[in-house]
């Protein structure tokens, strides 16, 4: 089992998820099976953590040919960046199965399949394989929104599907273009990520291919003005799906930019970094301001999440080590804090049947532990020092200042914008006087407290002792920066030779 740890982490949830959907378990049994499966994945992840050397090379690699004529292979492997994104997912997903109760079994099945597909997208080292997982992870989300979502769920599903599929199909075109370019240069087909970095691309088609990738990731992240699917989808989706969307899927977008665009499209990225950074900054301000106008907690958080994703995206485009490390660190930090917030809001909705801020109040008095957890996640999301949110945000702002002073100054407004709506929401929901509705709010049970506690600890731990994480991220980030800045596209040469030898 451990020999193919990545495959197991991917396919165990998928297979169990399918089984849960097909075999008529009871709802509770399905939930427990899901919990067991996700815990098993977490266990494998932790086990892998201890054998992970952080050498900068791909570890736990697996290779199996799928279509030899096209060089498409089942290739998995993780390096410092992807491994931590993978672990973030593994840590967070079990919580969902503790917290989200009394849903049909198909719900838990969908959750598991998404979890597996996300792991696949993170671990894939072959572009076609990546694309396959990238699409598969959307399908269960689509069904979860449509089946278990809010009143306007149908419009939301259409919007999220059309937006993301448009992006990803254009990415497919770009992927195949890369494969064809490789074939044109070297006479063999390959979609292996590392091999493709050896390509010497130039000209208009390369730019188009770059935008093909960028569009897909920008929609998923999302970067302004491609975010318009997000508020509806996040709001209408059930809490668990919103959690997956915000905590993991959006992060895969960020991760994918680092993994696929930086090594292959360095010159294009350098060339378009300024407009892209501006888009990210505008998004961060725009969505942040929009959040204050929301009446629905979840929608507010959706805009907040979009705003924060602007910060993360900005970190990518600044193209310096501080900002990039900040972005990667923030992938984990934001996943934990925002994911937690969405889950907690989901619990409020489950217990009180409302998300309207105006209908709520005084929850802190009813449920101090709940409020404490919420507050910690909230403070992390506004980037308070001592929580995980600060390190990433600070590094990104720092990097942005170096990249472009004006952009950096605008980016720093996130410090102010974030607290405005968050405090406003916290005040209305947790403080002030309660009403008849909130009087019945019960605090977290022991099991729920236990489920959330590790994440709370993680948030604080990452704020106080970030160096163990950063030490593993930084070399990989440094490599990427070096690749981009060299723009000679030479770093992939060794891997390329390796691939050519295989053929």
């Amino acid at each position: 089992m451990f020999d193919n740890v990545l495959s197991t982490m991917i396919f165990l949830p998928i297979v169990i998820g399918l089984a849960v959907m097909l075999i008529p378990f009871g709802s509770n049994a399905a939930r427990r099976i899901g919990l067991a499966a996700s815990l098993l994945v977490l266990l494998l992840g932790v086990r892998a953590y201890f054998s992970f050397t952080g050498s900068g090379q791909l570890e736990f690699a697996e290779t199996r040919n799928l279509i030899e004529t096209l060089g498409i292979a089942y290739r998995l492997g993780v390096d410092g960046i992807s491994f931590f994104v993978l672990l973030t997912g593994a840590v967070l997903i079990p919580i969902v199965f503790v917290v989200v109760r009394d849903r049909p079994r198909a719900f838990y099945g969908n959750l598991l399949i998404t979890a597996g597909a996300m792991a696949g997208a993170i671990a894939a080292c072959d572009l076609v394989l990546f694309y396959i997982f990238w699409e598969i992870m959307l399908i269960p989300i689509f069904f979860m929104i449509g089946l278990y979502g809010g009143p306007d769920r149908r419009a939301a599903t259409i919007k999220i599907m059309l937006y993301t599929v448009s992006g990803s199909l254009l990415m497919l075109a770009s992927i195949i273009y890369l494969g064809a370019a490789f074939h044109a240069h070297f006479g063999v087909w390959s979609f292996e990520t590392i091999a493709l970095t050896g390509l010497d691309l130039s000209g208009r088609t390369a730019t188009l291919a770059f935008f093909g990738f960028m569009l897909a990731f920008a929609i998923k992240i999302p970067i302004f003005p491609l975010h318009t699917w997000l508020p509806d989808a996040y709001t209408e989706a059930p809490a668990a799906a919103t959690f997956l969307l915000s905590a993991i899927m959006a992060k895969i977008g960020i991760y994918a930019v680092i993994r696929f665009i930086m090594p292959v499209f360095g010159p294009e990225l350098v060339h378009y970094a300024v407009p892209l950074a501006w888009a990210a900054v505008i998004g961060l301000i725009y969505c942040g301001i929009a959040a204050i106008g929301q009446k629905d907690m979840k929608r507010l958080l959706a805009f907040s999440s979009a705003s924060h994703m602007g910060v993360l995206a900005l970190g990518l485009f600044c193209l310096n080590i501080q900002a990039l490390t900040g972005s990667i660190f923030q992938i984990m930090a934001h996943a934990t804090s925002t994911g937690l917030l969405f889950l907690l809001i989901g619990m409020i909705e489950d217990r009180l049947q409302t998300r309207e801020i105006a209908d709520l109040g005084g929850i802190a008095r009813q449920a101090p532990i709940f409020a404490f957890f919420f507050a910690v996640a909230l403070l992390a999301s506004v980037g308070l020092p001592g929580t995980s949110g600060f390190i990433g945000e600070f590094l990104i702002i720092l990097g942005a200042i170096k990249f472009d002073t004006t952009i950096g100054i605008f980016a720093a407004t996130t410090l102010i914008i974030g607290v405005c709506y968050m405090l406003w929401m916290f005040q209305r929901v947790f403080f002030e006087k309660g009403n008849d509705r909130t009087a019945g709010f019960t605090d977290l049970s022991a099991a729920e407290t236990l489920a959330f506690l590790p994440v709370i600890v993680l948030i604080l731990l990452m704020g106080v002792f970030p160096q163990p994480f950063i030490a593993r991220i930084e070399p990989a980030a440094q490599n990427h920066i070096a690749t981009v800045q060299a723009t000679g596209r030479t770093s992939g040469q060794i891997a390329l030779d390796h691939t050519l030898q295989q053929h």
């Binding site: 106008g293 501080q322 406003w424 160096q467």
Partner: protein, 637 residues
């Protein structure tokens, strides 16, 4: 290295652990039987007292070191290290921070003790102390941090605690709003702080981003960068230390429990801005113009808030504006490069302002949470001890020789005069008179005359010893703290200034004794004029005045809050609402909607072409074939 220690990190750690333990116990027991208050009280006071002892140890350890290398440091662990950025979680104790350390832990301990009495029977007694401990921990990180980033941790931490404690009585919306305001306004300042740090880092941070390295490398900075960094950092200071234009949160912060006002919003946290400017004196000293700007901002803040203070009717508001006003003095001092004078005022202010707030707390406690001074009166007989201690505090605040406030304030005014900034000095003297006026207006209305609310007066009684003992101790401090920095004129040797000298880049303003005598005489005269007017108007009891014209305008603090509301808050919310409800769905989404619309329209067009007549289909085919044939014919040419 002789300067490294292993116990420095303990100082902030102890209160933080205390906060965690109390918080954990509180959350663990909030559903069932609570633990007794006495237990929490003892637990909460342990950490501050221990830190005070450690602070004393730090002081004596420092004294044992030679002046040139008079600092202690400890790098606990590497916090984060990215590229050329290497930030250690490290602490630095030098004369400046040790002075801060002493009075922060001292007043902090006293206020913890006082709170046991004040907060008795509060339903979240433990939560309060958890916050208080957390605050102390953050404040100590702020003071001891060995570089700006570590300082920023404390800086934001104290902001958080301030928010939590202002919103402490969270059922009342206005309290929470006051908390929000404090946090958000502070964040505006932090925006400046972060940017200042970023610019500073990219200029010289690669050589190490702690104070010692920065100080060593500061000479490499171009002047434009220094000015930029200094202004941005000062923006941070105006937020934290409630200076124009960001002072608006501090009066509202009085919504918190009174010990909080004493600890956070008078004695410690709000002085962080002054401390920070002093900490960065190696930068500020290079740009005198920025310093003068800061001094003017400070002195105008002092003036404006003194005007507000003269018309307030809430006892805590009077003290709050006096705090803003005194902070203005401090900035005037540090702005004019009289860093030690500014810091000395911070030091003395901590005693007398904490004393005044705790005294006010006793009054409020005795009056069953009545804060309007026009409902009080004649309390002198009911609360003799409180009266005496508050009188001492007021004299110190008003600058009556030989109380502590006199020496420290006088030193600032003297620096202004000596450095040739006569304008600042004149305003300062004016404010000194006004301070005496509003302080004694409060004293006279509250303690003298006859009771205005007989019922409340009858039930008023002196609070328990746990509250009065700290008052007495602070009163002693307020009385004698000034002598620590007795100027040569009075036969002293300016011990504090000398103590601080290694930490600060101070220009001594040397001037003749005559100048000093003029300054002192003016201050004393201002004091007496102020107190005389107050006595004339309020000494024998007075009725609540009705404000008209300028007085009303000043009572409403020049309507600055309303102004900010109209030009900032409302537009911001309106834009937010517009984006959320209209722009995002109808404007930003336009490209997608246009594509969708176009697609549907084209779809209906093609639907129209499917007419259903078989002849039409045959015609399509023939047309298509004709085009194909034409294309073929083309290729023959």
């Amino acid at each position: 290295m002789a300067n490294t220690t292993t116990y420095l990190g303990l100082i902030p750690l102890l209160p933080l652990v205390g906060a965690a333990v109390i918080g954990f116990l509180h959350l663990g027991t909030c559903k069932g039987e609570r633990l007794p208050e006495r237990f929490y009280g003892l637990l909460a006071c342990t950490a501050p007292i221990l830190t005070f002892l450690l602070a004393v140890k730090v002081f004596f350890d420092l004294r044992g070191l030679p002046v040139e290398t008079r600092f202690l440091s400890q790098e606990v662990f590497t916090w984060f290290k990215v590229g050329e950025m290497d930030i250690a979680m490290g602490f630095l104790a030098d004369p400046l921070s040790s002075l801060m350390l002493l009075f922060v832990t001292f007043t902090g301990s006293l206020i913890h003790i006082y709170s046991i009495g004040y907060m008795a029977k509060d339903e979240s007694f433990a939560k309060f102390f958890a916050y208080l401990n957390l605050f102390l921990g953050s404040m100590l990180i702020l003071v001891l941090g060995n570089g700006p980033v570590v300082m920023f941790v404390g800086w934001e931490g104290v902001g958080l605690c301030s928010y939590l404690l202002i919103s402490y009585y969270s059922e009342d919306r206005s309290n929470v709003l006051a908390g929000n305001k404090a946090f958000i306004v502070n964040r505006i300042g932090d925006f400046g702080f972060v940017l200042g740090m970023a610019f500073l880092f990219w200029a010289i941070g690669s050589g190490g981003f702690d104070y010692i390295s920065l100080k060593a490398n500061a000479h490499m900075l171009p002047e434009a960068t220094v000015i930029l960094v200094c202004l941005l950092l000062f923006l941070g200071a105006t937020g934290k230390s409630a200076q124009i234009p960001l002072y608006v949160w501090l009066p509202d912060a009085m919504a918190g429990p009174t010990p909080v006002s004493a600890l956070i919003h008078a004695a410690t946290m709000v002085t962080a801005g002054v401390y920070m400017v002093a900490r960065f004196s190696f930068l500020y000293a290079h740009v005198a113009a920025v310093g003068v700007f800061i001094a003017w901002v400070g002195i105008i803040t002092a003036l404006v808030s003194a005007i507000y203070g003269m018309y307030q009717d809430d006892i805590k508001k009077v003290l709050a504006y006096s705090t803003v006003s005194q902070l203005g003095y401090m900035f005037a001092g540090v702005g004019l490069a009289a860093y030690s004078a500014g810091i000395f005022h911070v030091f003395t202010h901590a005693f007398f302002k904490a004393l005044l707030f705790l005294g006010a707390g006793s009054v409020i406690y005795a009056m069953h949470h009545e804060q309007n001074i026009w409902k009080m009166g004649g309390l002198r007989s009911k609360l003799p001890l409180t009266y005496k201690t508050m009188l001492i505090g007021s004299l110190a605040l008003a600058g009556c020789p030989p109380f502590s406030g006199f020496f420290s304030k006088d030193e600032i005014l003297y620096s202004a005069l000596a450095s040739g900034h006569t304008g600042i000095w004149l305003v300062g003297v004016l404010v000194a008179g006004m301070t005496a006026y509003y302080t004694f207006r409060m004293i006279f209305v509250v303690f003298h005359g006859s009771p205005r609310d007989a019922h409340a007066f009858d039930h008023a009684h002196e609070p328990p010893a746990v509250m009065t003992v700290p008052l007495v101790i602070l009163a002693i401090g307020a009385l004698f703290a000034g002598f620590l920095n007795l100027p040569a004129l009075f036969g002293g040797s300016q011990q504090v200034t000398h103590w601080l000298a290694p930490s600060l880049a101070e220009h001594a303003h040397e001037a003749a004794h005559s100048t000093e005598i003029i300054a002192i005489a003016a201050s004393v005269a201002a004091f007496f004029v102020g107190i005389l007017i107050a006595w004339r108007k309020f000494g024998q009891g007075a009725e609540e005045p009705v404000f008209r014209g300028f007085a009303s305008f000043a009572y409403h603090t020049f309507r600055v809050n309303e102004f900010y509301d109209v030009i900032l808050v409302r537009p911001y919310k309106a834009i937010g609402g517009a984006i959320a409800n209209f722009i995002d769905a109808n404007i930003t989404d336009i490209p997608a909607q246009v594509i969708a619309w176009f697609y549907r329209q084209a779809g209906s067009l093609f639907k129209l072409l499917q007419v259903g007549y078989v002849r039409a289909y045959a015609i399509y085919m023939i047309v298509g074939l004709s085009v194909m044939s034409l294309l073929l014919a083309q290729s023959f040419k």
